[in-house]
């Protein structure tokens, strides 16, 4: 199978280049990550992040044949040759497929991604009905891989000002939690021409999410709540 992989090592390369590799696939090579790691045994200088190899840690987000995804859950048999691999678009490249996610996490932290409830907790658990708990499905499963934000034109142009789909999804995860008491503070935090309203509902983010989550929908719900509290 043929691969073309983005290479850049700031210590020796003036600029990035694409390098071709060819790999004889083994029956045990099912996912793209399996193949990349075998390429890495031939060329140990190839840099990428990886850990869980099952799509739950969010380490190996990259651009695969033009679409963002996690290499460990991308089946090789679905890929057209040559398989073109690039770092997540819009993020500064540290080396090869490794990008700097600093800005992405800064935006995540900016939405106060933790439960706020200053009432003293009960002796046991806070109660929540199964229906209220269901509101968190499709939100809490995010693995912070960045595939969505790295597919969002608004995030490319304004990563410092626009919160981006991943962090907005998490903002909504706490707004939707019946145990959280900071909804209005959270909405204030986002009521800004850039932070939330740079989203133009292009839907790239939902297409890109390897966990099947839908940030666009969450963003829509935040917007609805803002409208609701205005009237």
């Amino acid at each position: 199978m043929k691969f073309s992989i983005y290479r850049y090592n700031p210590e020796k390369d003036n600029k990035p280049y694409m390098r071709d590799y060819e790999l004889e696939l083994l029956p045990t090579d099912r996912m793209l990550l399996d193949a990349i790691l075998r390429i890495k045994t031939m060329d140990d200088s190839l840099g990428l992040r990886k850990s869980c190899r099952e799509g739950v840690c969010g380490s190996d987000g990259m651009n695969i044949n033009g679409k963002n995804g996690l290499a460990c859950v991308t089946p090789l048999k679905d890929l057209k040759e040559p398989v073109v691999l690039r770092p997540l678009p819009g993020f500064p490249v540290i080396r090869d497929l490794i990008v700097d996610m600093g800005q992405f996490f800064k935006q995540y932290h900016s939405v106060k991604p933790y439960l706020i409830n200053d009432n003293p907790p009960p002796q046991k658990e806070r109660l929540q009905s199964p229906e209220d708990r269901e509101e968190l499905d499709g939100l809490y499963e995010c693995v912070l891989c960045g595939c969505c934000s790295a597919s969002c034109p608004s995030f490319w142009w304004n990563p410092d000002k626009f919160v981006g789909p991943a962090a907005l999804l998490q903002a909504y995860r706490f707004i939707a939690d019946t145990r959280d008491e900071a909804t209005s503070e959270r909405l204030d935090n986002l009521e800004d021409p850039y932070r939330l309203f740079r989203c133009h509902t292009i839907m790239n983010c939902a297409d890109a999410c390897p966990k099947g989550l839908n940030p666009t929908e969450a963003i829509g719900r935040i917007k609805k709540q803002m409208v609701k509290r205005m009237v």
């Binding site: 090592n9 700031p10 210590e11 020796k12 045990t28 099912r30 890495k40 045994t41 140990d44 200088s45 840099g47 990428l48 992040r49 990886k50 850990s51 869980c52 190899r53 099952e54 799509g55 739950v56 840690c57 969010g58 380490s59 859950v73 089946p75 540290i94 080396r95 490794i98 996610m101 996490f105 932290h109 106060k112 991604p113 933790y114 439960l115 907790p121 002796q123 046991k124 658990e125 806070r126 109660l127 929540q128 009905s129 199964p130 209220d132 708990r133 968190l136 809490y140 499963e141 693995v143 912070l144 706490f174 939690d177 145990r179 959280d180």
Partner: protein
């Protein structure tokens, strides 16, 4: 070479569940704490835990911490220390409620309480019938827990050093631990971090096996770090094989599948666990189920063209239950087994999953080691270990499912509390020794200077093959002795590795070379300790010594890197307040 230096009250090595729980306890108390992690904290392997957290909340049926304690001791095949087990089971409800208060999205019962599911080895009334004790967030409990703990740490303004690899401990001339040496991956720069207390929370080392449910980063760094600093490793022969890893892929299918009603079948369609464990059946403890599966396969009743796996059937649970309670499993089965579990069974095999042994500690998380030949346990001042890298020992020779996430919470918290006490009595930083960074710098220099040598991935593959073949589900003296010889050859090769890429910036080849040094230490400890233990107990099943031998082997092994030497210490059979549970024959 003088390295740059930073100073903290406490450094925590590891941003998984245990490290984050300890960090929270300290950061919320205003302690100056730094957490180091090889990966962004939410990428730690706690994120992969699926099934649940064990706690006798009694939300589903009557339950009691004493029953949980009994199950844990029995599960451990009586090798667990009963003081630590009582401590953990009594604290379980408290730490789970706290986690809920932090925002953990637990599944709920109609009355609003936390949903709990049955899990292997957990029972009501001292083994009478299965009980629902595993507190769950679908089959993504670890993900939900790790993110919740990270989020709470963000709130507490905890300081993180992300993508830093800790290389070694610094001990002064009196043996007190005074900090660490760590390498920043992005720049390749090593640095000294001076601290009054250091907590190791580096997780497991399941990557010593070929077939493993563990992530690539689970390379036993904490164990290598401790062993190089002269600290023994406890009970390293005990590795848990999870009954249900996806055949060929290694990815885990949680025991929650059987908790929710899934069953194991052999090639004849027979529910074979009824023969091996008449009461608990498919929910017997993991060592029992894994051995039964191995036996079915060896006796020719495996399924598939090569008859080398068994089948996990869950379609009878119905699509609704599978979608709601096991959505992650649905995803994994489709992706990694090419099977739609709502219609067809999943091919599964016993797969290396969890390390029961580790760095010896007491239930405050303090690292303890015998001093001289006195045989007594003495605290290594300034050093703590928690989570999978530690051996308290609550899991003994076999861990019960859901008890690891619980262990992270209970001992992460108690280590945090104990560090606060320790800091009161030790308010000053001690001087760094002259040679503080020498060991680490030598390791780095060797890799920088080696022009040619062994290939990292080849040595790593040889190690995994050796451990898989010689220290698998069933073991014999001959197999183990050969394994010891082979692994010592592999260790020698690992000392002579070379990497082609010598660059500084995010050099993953260098990181993998450093990880390999730790892995081979763990692998050697495993084989040496397993060969010496001439009995079958929990996860150690010897075909040449089929029975448990309490007279000679009711003791913990301690392996020292220096000379690959073994020592032993007694099991603590004395709980804190209740009566001792005397060793009995285990039936499920």
């Amino acid at each position: 070479m003088a390295l740059p230096r930073q100073i903290f009250d406490t450094v925590i090595v590891g941003g998984g569940g245990s490290g984050l729980r300890a960090a929270l306890q300290l950061a919320e108390a205003g302690n100056h704490v730094a957490v180091f992690s090889k990966v962004f904290p939410t990428r730690s392997h706690t994120v992969a835990a699926q099934g649940g957290i064990g706690a006798s909340l009694g939300n589903m049926q009557e339950d009691h911490w004493l029953w949980h304690m009994y199950d844990t001791i029995k599960g451990s095949d009586y090798l667990g220390d009963q003081d630590a087990i009582e401590f953990m089971c009594r604290k379980a409800a408290e730490v789970v409620y706290e986690l809920e208060h932090f925002g953990m999205p637990f599944d709920r019962n109609p009355d609003g309480t936390i949903y709990q599911r049955p899990f292997g080895g957990h029972s009501q009334n001292f083994g009478q019938r299965p009980v629902q004790r595993a507190c769950a967030a679908a089959d993504r409990t670890g993900h939900a827990m790790l993110h919740t703990l990270y989020q709470r740490n963000v709130r507490a303004h905890c300081q993180f050093f992300v993508e830093w690899m800790v290389l070694d401990l610094i001990r002064d001339y009196e043996g007190v631990v005074v900090g660490i040496v760590a390498l920043e991956m992005e720049t390749g720069q090593p640095m000294i971090f001076q601290a009054k207390s250091t907590i190791l929370a580096t997780g497991g080392a399941g990557r010593i096996y070929q077939s493993s449910t563990n992530a690539f980063i689970n390379t036993g760094d904490g164990l290598g770090i401790a062993a190089r600093a002269g600290i023994p490793l406890e009970d390293m022969e005990f590795w848990q094989f999870h009954p249900t890893g996806v055949a060929g892929a290694g990815v885990l299918i949680t025991e929650a599948v059987r908790g929710e009603g899934g069953i194991l079948l052999n090639s004849k369609g027979e529910r074979f666990m009824e023969r091996y464990a008449p009461t608990m059946k498919d929910l017997a403890s993991r060592d029992v189920v894994s051995r039964a599966m191995d036996k079915e396969i060896k006796e020719g009743r495996g399924a598939g063209p090569e008859k080398d796996y068994v089948l996990l059937k869950l379609d009878h649970l119905g699509t609704e239950v599978i979608n709601k309670r096991l959505p992650g499993i649905l995803e994994i089965a489709l992706k990694f087994a090419n099977v739609d579990p709502t219609r067809d069974p999943i091919p599964v095999v016993p797969t290396c999953h969890y390390q029961m042994g580790g760095i010896p500690t007491n239930y405050y998380g303090q690292v303890v080691a015998p001093r001289g030949s006195s045989g007594s346990n003495e605290v290594v001042p300034g050093l703590y270990a928690i989570g999978e890298c530690a051996c308290v020992s609550v899991h003994g020779a076999n861990r019960l499912g859901t008890n690891s996430l619980l262990d992270l919470l209970v001992f992460g918290k108690s280590a945090g509390d104990h560090v606060r006490e320790w800091l009161k009595g030790n308010p000053q930083h001690r001087d760094l020794p002259q040679d503080a960074a020498d060991r680490s710098l030598e390791r780095l220099a060797r890799l920088d200077n080696a022009e040619s040598g062994e290939n990292i991935s080849e040595v790593a593959a040889a190690m995994r093959r050796t451990v898989q073949h010689h220290a698998g589900v069933f073991r014999t003296g001959k197999l183990l002795a050969e394994g010891v010889t082979k692994i010592q050859q592999v260790a020698e090769r690992a000392r002579n590795t070379a990497i082609k890429d010598k660059s500084r910036v995010f050099n993953t080849a260098r990181i993998e070379a450093l990880e390999l040094e730790n892995l081979v230490i763990v692998a050697e400890a495993t084989l040496v300790a397993a060969e010496a233990r001439t009995e079958s107990r929990g996860a150690q099943a010897r075909e040449d010594f089929k029975d448990r031998d309490d007279k000679n082997w009711l003791k913990h092994s301690l392996w020292y890197l220096e000379g690959s030497r073994l020592d032993y210490k007694p099991v603590n059979l004395q709980p804190l307040t209740v009566e001792s549970f005397e060793p009995k024959v285990r039936v499920y």
